[in-house]
């Protein structure tokens, strides 16, 4: 099948458990269509978002890319690629820019907004970090209430708040090096995986009323607070499902493979439904069986999940955003499939919790089920589709809409990106 006339792009996820490549396109309305998929295990070459074995990642990424081409029944052009960024090196900040409106009519104009946004981005970061994501949070006029779009409103002062995400320059360089070795000539655009998950799973109501999104992956846990289509808080905790498997492995003297499979296959839920209280595992001697109480598994899992979600709650409370989460909490990622995760999250956060699945994508979905585990990579596809089509229909960076129209398209920022990394 040829992709004549189609704007084809590629999205890449380099995760702790899997390397996933999707080829996609978009229609004029900005709807994403999946054309091909390739997926390979990471084989331990990526740990908590950090690449520990470059050649292994390159090999598996190349293989995943070929699988995606075969799945799409053609060799997709190595044009533009979007990749997910996560890991403990990522940091986020809220920038604030203030403008006094001296005009006689005291009406907010686009020039005022542009100036406020520009000032808000002026935050010094350490030389080893690079901003790669800028999202609107909200505006305030006369330092009173928060508003989405202050254009043409009467005001004495205008404040713009933006959310800036930065990552390690070395890590970004490494990712760029990988994709350039695979022939992507038009360069690569990094996207924070929490933002991608939000694109893939949050409804418009949730984005407006305020939601905490938690993407509980194999290596890291990303969290994001979205309110009124703006991002107010984001972060990465380098604790994932692998930590849970590690806890079980150490606590019960089991192999990591068994523990990962135990968590992946929802064995705990099955045993509970059958009211079994003991887990039987083949022992070292052939005719012996190990018997471990189910309670031991529950205890270890409960303690780890409770601690993780409590840390996230502390971040939200520290930023004083708990009262804005009217739509509750959304849980996605592979860890969302753990049966007690929802209950514990509800217990800790004290609000409504939903397990999210990606939506809004058509096309060749065979091979990638709409499970929470693929929320970030499918969300990235949607994000890329919106950017490529030039529409940002009710999207997260609605303020970014304002940002783009005032300061130029993302393409311009992308050109700067290319120059910075000499692509």
């Amino acid at each position: 099948m040829a992709f004549y006339g189609k704007n084809v792009f590629t999205v890449v996820e380099l995760g702790t458990s899997k390397i996933c490549v999707l080829h996609g396109t978009c229609d004029k309305a900005g709807n994403a269509e999946l054309l091909g998929i390739g997926q390979r295990p990471s084989e331990g070459a990526i740990v908590k978002g950090t690449i520990t074995d470059y050649n292994c990642v390159l090999k598996n990424l190349e293989a995943a890319l070929e699988d995606a081409d075969k799945s799409a029944n053609t060799v997709a052009g190595r044009g533009k690629v979007y990749f997910l960024m996560s890991g403990s090196s990522l940091t986020s900040r809220q920038g604030e820019g203030n403008v006094i409106i001296y005009d006689t009519d005291h009406r907010v104009k686009s020039s005022h907004m542009a100036e406020a946004i520009k000032k808000a981005q002026n935050i010094s970061i350490s030389p080893d970090q690079e901003n790669f994501g800028i999202f609107g949070s909200y505006f305030t006029i006369n330092s009173t209430h928060r508003i989405k779009n202050p254009l043409d409103q009467h005001a004495e002062t205008l404040n713009a708040y933006v959310h800036l995400i930065s990552g390690s320059r070395k890590l970004i360089n490494t990712y760029l090096g990988l994709v350039s070795e695979l022939g992507f000539e038009r360069g690569a655009i990094p996207v924070f995986s929490g933002v991608a998950s939000a694109y893939g799973t949050l409804s418009s109501d949730e984005r407006e009323y305020g939601t905490l999104l938690v993407d509980f992956g194999a290596g890291v846990c990303d969290y994001l607070v979205v309110h009124n289509d703006g991002i107010l808080l984001s972060g990465v905790l380098p604790i994932g499902v692998d930590n849970l498997a590690n806890d079980l492995s150490i606590g019960l003297d089991l192999s990591m493979d068994y523990c990962r499979k135990f968590l992946r296959d929802n064995t705990l839920e099955g045993l509970r439904e059958r009211a079994q209280s003991i887990v039987e595992i083949p022992g070292i001697t052939a005719d012996k069986t190990r018997k471990i109480p189910l309670l031991s598994f529950e205890k270890i899992i409960d303690m780890r999940l409770r601690e993780l979600f409590t840390i996230i709650k502390e971040q939200v409370d520290g930023a004083q955003l708990a009262h804005l989460l009217r739509a509750g909490t959304v849980l996605c990622g592979g860890g969302a499939m753990i049966p007690s995760a929802m209950e514990i999250m509800h217990n800790v956060m004290g609000n409504h919790v939903r397990r999210a699945e990606p939506f809004g994508i058509s096309g060749a979905m065979t091979g990638v089920d709409r499970s929470p585990a693929h929320a970030s990579v499918l969300g990235l596809l949607k994000y890329a589709a919106e950017l490529e089509s030039g529409t940002q229909q009710g999207s997260l960076n609605q303020l970014g809409d304002v940002l783009e129209s005032l300061t130029g398209r993302l393409e311009k920022g992308y050109e700067n990106f290319k120059k910075a990394f000499k692509l």
């Binding site: 019960l252 009211a275 022992g283 303690m303 939903r354």
Partner: protein, 408 residues
């Protein structure tokens, strides 16, 4: 778009005021309380069940249902778990299906037992887990050891409470020491423990009657849940029952008896509490004047610093009876209980730097336990508030984990 919505637990929870109530006693103390409850109870909608590892003791208990748990997976011993928490945990977790079977058609569960030993302390978490899975409102009324009992028993009791507190709706721990307030020193030991058991049985029944009645205003299960959920607190429970045959002013008599309840700890304790939940309940003949009198009298006794929550409930009970129930709560922390952390032991240098009053050498305790990080041994540490999060949570919290059999 497919959305999986899990509604909040409270929305799926059954109403406690309808259906059957079950009182479950775990361990030796719990079974004795159930035996006393079975003799006191006079309503068909209350069921009793006992679970213990000591089959001899269990045989002598009168109740509707019994579960004999074996502490040994290989031999059905029935000889008790000898205060071993791990054996108690294994024994009760093995009876998970039987416990789940008890909860069919049950709309309210009260669990009682004495912490510090093996069966109740070890098995409590299994019961919590089964009750949560069944989404049944559950109240845990647990006794904690006397002050003169061994440190190990008291520590086991404290650890168990800390372990189950975050996952229970209502946990009321009643120190056995409160019984000394009504027991005089010349009472024989056997009789003293018998009186303690009976008092606990009355407390359990009185509490059950309160929750099972239809609340007119104020106090219901949700009130208790809001006050006690995941909050570490010292509690006291007082039950006072009076009937028309006790005198004209039965509500005042009930108030007096409530204040004399041993597990309330006296008026002093009531006055020093952070919150008091008081409810007057009775049959259809309960008069508004009685209710007003009793609640106003109590309100006038307490200082304004006590957050008083009052309520009234009506339901089927003994004709002509009025019951006054009070739950006092004194919080240990002002905020929700955080995950318990190991206290950082002072190093030898820190201890030596402190001036010693008597210039005597300080013995330093060295930590012999080493923590394993497993697959993250070679990764840089993930630091959060001076803790390395790659070390398993259960290790950092010092939780005991039963590894089961070795399979060798």
């Amino acid at each position: 778009m497919t959305q999986q919505t899990d509604t909040a637990e409270e929305q799926n929870r059954k109403e406690p005021s309808t259906g059957t109530a079950l009182i479950l006693g775990i361990g030796g103390a719990g079974c004795r309380i159930i035996d006393a409850v079975s003799r006191f109870k006079n309503a068909d909608w209350i069921q009793t069940a006992a679970l213990d590892t000591d089959s001899d003791q269990l045989d002598g208990i009168h109740c509707d249902r019994k579960i004999a748990a074996s502490s040994d997976w290989i031999l059905k011993s029935g000889t008790g778990c000898g205060g071993d928490i791990i054996r108690g945990e294994r024994a009760v977790s093995r009876e998970r299906a039987a416990i789940a079977g008890l909860l069919n058609q049950v709309s309210l569960l009260i669990v009682t037992g004495g912490l510090g030993g093996g069966t109740a302390t070890g098995g409590m978490r299994t019961v919590v887990s089964v009750a949560r899975a069944a989404k049944i409102p559950t109240v845990f009324l647990l006794n904690t050891p006397f002050a003169f009992e061994s440190y190990a028993r008291r520590k086991n009791s404290d650890d168990c409470i800390a372990d189950i507190l975050p996952v229970t709706d209502v946990l009321i721990n009643l120190p056995n020491d409160l019984l000394f307030s009504v027991l005089s020193g010349n009472i024989p030991v056997e009789k003293a423990f018998q009186m303690a058991t009976e008092e606990m049985a009355r407390t359990v029944l009185g509490f059950l009657a309160l929750l099972a009645r239809k609340s007119l205003f104020g106090t219901d299960f949700a009130n208790f849940m809001t006050s006690l959920r995941a909050k570490k607190a010292a509690c006291g429970v007082g039950i006072g029952i009076a009937s028309e045959s006790d005198g004209l002013d039965r509500s005042t008599i009930a108030l007096k008896r409530m204040l004399e309840s041993p597990f309330l700890g006296g008026l002093d304790r009531l006055e020093s509490s952070d919150m008091a939940i008081v409810s007057i309940s009775g049959g259809p003949d309960l008069q508004i004047g009685e209710m007003k009198r009793a609640l106003e009298q109590l309100s006038s006794m307490l200082p304004k610093s006590v957050n008083l929550v009052m309520g009234a409930a009506i339901g089927p009970c003994e004709p002509g009876c009025v019951q006054l129930t009070a739950l006092t709560v004194k919080y240990e922390h002002r905020h929700d209980v955080p995950t318990p952390r190991k206290e950082k032991k002072k190093t030898a240098v820190e201890q030596e730097s402190q001036p010693s009053l008597f210039n005597s050498p300080v013995e330093v305790e060295l930590e012999l336990r080493s923590f394993s990080k497993g697959v993250f041994a070679d990764s840089p540490p993930t630091k959060y508030k001076e803790e390395d999060l790659d070390i398993p949570t259960f290790q950092r919290r010092g939780a005991n984990i039963d590894k089961g059999t070795t399979g060798r």
